[in-house]
């Protein structure tokens, strides 16, 4: 492991900084509590590196500007919260269909609707799986501590360019506004890790951006460079032109799934804490996992053998690992700040309905004591 540097900052600001370090040169957004600081800080950072930050007239304008800039070949980013995700949904679907890479940071707050603008929730987990209508495979990362607000945002940019689609980074109000020390990679290391987007360099007349193998993402050359193709949200052929041809339509949607599913190992990431000798498994993610971790330590000091599994990549879910854990552990508890959105995924992956849940939707974060009490109550 190469050296780390120390930054004292907030989750939102770290996420913005990560974007700039990862080579993002375009940000378009709309102020939305509790994500506004992402735009505040990046509007300060970007001009200094020759980048552009635009405050758009609304969330829909923001996502469209990001798609436009992404088509011009640069790394792009937007930041928002749940209500903004709802507004952006239509065009997130367009970006999935037309395979435009972008990073969308969602600092979750209480919902539905206006909800609890200044309070925490993890209510957008199900939404992140399919924000818009239609079939596709979302890539969603969830930061569980301050350092990950930085590292997961960097990873999101690399995944977006690799898989040619939007990548969501989920923060929540607690972690977005948390202020503290984070140990993060140096700018040089981040720059070294950048894998640029694939470019077609053959003759322009041979260029078929969507005419790729069934497990590959599209190859979109930047605008302004002489490679012409059609860009649409309609079902399209290899050149990008709208079509209703039966085989082409079938293959397109299958490819949108396969390009992610076949390479899930590249995306999957999770943390296992004291699982080896544990009797009880707690599954938590995001800011709740901080409370879970402390609860695990306290319970262990009391002689209760507890361990934690924390998915960092929420979608696609670590289903195989969760299946194995479901076989190994009789006692499982999920902890999340919603009414059990990820519990459903855990039930699906483990094939079990006897999983306990601890939920909270009053806008307040978990305290470790909540979890300790629950463990003592049910096991």
């Amino acid at each position: 492991m190469s050296e780390l540097r120390e930054i004292v900052s907030t989750g939102n600001e770290l996420s913005a900084l990560a974007g700039v370090d990862a080579g993002c040169t375009f940000f378009a957004g709309y102020p939305l509590t509790p994500s506004s600081e992402v735009m505040h800080s990046i509007s300060d950072y970007l001009p200094k590196v020759g980048g552009t930050c635009i405050q758009m007239e609304d969330e829909i304008g923001a996502i469209c500007a990001v798609i436009g800039a992404g088509m011009a070949g640069v790394r792009t980013m937007t930041g928002t919260s749940g209500p903004g995700m709802s507004l952006k949904a239509e065009n997130l679907g367009l970006a999935q269909m037309a395979e435009v890479p972008l990073v969308c940071v969602n600092v979750m707050r209480g919902g539905p609707s206006t909800g609890l603008p200044t309070r925490v929730s993890q209510g957008d987990i199900a939404q992140a799986k399919t924000p818009s209508h239609g079939d596709y495979k979302s890539i969603t990362l969830c930061a569980g501590n301050l350092a990950e607000c930085y590292t997961e945002t960097v990873r999101a940019f690399n995944l977006a360019d690799r898989f040619m689609q939007p990548v969501f980074v989920l923060l929540d109000e607690t972690i977005g506004h948390m202020h503290g020390k984070a140990m993060v990679p140096t700018v040089e290391d981040v720059k070294k890790g950048i894998v640029p987007r694939k470019i077609f360099d053959g003759a322009p007349e041979d260029y078929r951006p969507y005419g790729v193998e069934q497990d590959e993402p599209a190859v979109l050359n930047p605008m302004f460079e002489g490679y012409r193709y059609h860009f649409t949200g309609l079902h399209h052929d290899g050149k990008g032109f709208p079509t209703e041809e039966i085989e082409t339509c079938r293959k397109l949607i299958e490819r949108l799934f396969k390009k992610v599913e076949d390479y899930q190992d590249e995306i999957e990431s999770n943390e296992e804490y004291l699982l080896e000798d544990a009797d009880i498994l707690i599954i938590g993610y995001g800011s709740s996992s901080l409370a879970v971790k402390e609860a695990v330590d306290v319970l262990r000091a009391d002689g209760v053998k507890v361990g934690m599994f924390r998915p960092i990549t929420l979608w696609p879910s670590p289903e195989k690992r969760m299946y194995d854990l479901g076989q190994k552990f009789k006692n499982i508890l999920t902890v999340e700040l919603n009414q059990g959105q990820y519990l459903e995924e855990v039930q699906r992956a483990t094939g079990r309905l006897d999983i306990n849940k601890l939920t909270k939707t009053n806008g307040r974060p978990f305290s470790p004591q909540d979890i300790i009490d629950k463990v003592k109550e049910v096991f």
């Binding site: 709309y30 102020p31 939305l32 509590t33 506004s36 505040h40 200094k48 405050q55 206006t114």
Partner: protein, 317 residues
Amino acid sequence: MAITSIKNLKEFSTNNDRFEGAHTLCPGCAHSMIVRELMNCTDDNLVMTANTGCLEVSTAVYPFTTWDTSWMHIGFENAASSVTGSEVMHRVRKKKGTLPDPDAPVKFVAWGGDGSTFDIGFQWLSGAMERGHNFVYVCLDNENYANTGGQRSSATPIGSTTSTAPAGTHSYGEKQKKKDIVAIMAAHDAPYVAQLAPNKWKIMAKGFQKALDTEGPCFINTVSPCCTEWRFDPKDTITITDLATDSLMFPVYEIINGHELNILYRPKNVLKVEDYLGAQGRYKHLFKAENKHVIDKIQKDINEYWDMLQRREEARI
């Protein structure tokens, strides 16, 4: 019909107060003065909707409400659309005779800040104006997203520093000219459009009454100085508004039926814009030598706009 007397402030202040004290707006915020003035200048029933913004979050803090009327908040952008639904259903039920008191006068009012009027709610407002509903839309223009941390809006004037268009080594702050919302709304052929200011309270109250009594969609832009984000002492709200209207940064005027323009307030001594800019922290950086050109530009724009207003008033176009 609107309430009778607005002869003097003392008398006006004795009107039944329909915007009551229990709100959490900043001390010195002009929002409450404007809203109270509209609500107190009529005895008619009021049905109100509000976009998300300072006004909405500060006047309905559980378990209190400031509104002694029907009032609803739906989302950030859609006060104009929700008032559409209420207005249409009122008309339909009146026609069908299903209202308990069909002759009671009802006025529909939608409130928005400049963020939700100039930006995110613009399409919704334009739609409602075009469809021609019988309502008054009032924009409380404080030239930034004051509710969410002072970000720029398309009402933010050139040179102002905001949290998303910060002034510093690389920028003098906001670079775009303020959107001319009054002209845009007048272009919808609206029967009554105006720009009013709370320091000219009598002109403002008369403007509100005129709008409430006009059949069809009316739009009023009001300047609402924001001590928090404009950075001035809360006690100076009206002084700042005086500077705004007397420097012609905010000319007070109305446009009837899309073309008949009347200037409602002509300052006796027109002030230089420096006097207005210098009184606020958000323009402090403009007084550095390298930013002088921005002040010159603002002054030039003001002169040209005032000239245009005068010519339009004369030409009746």
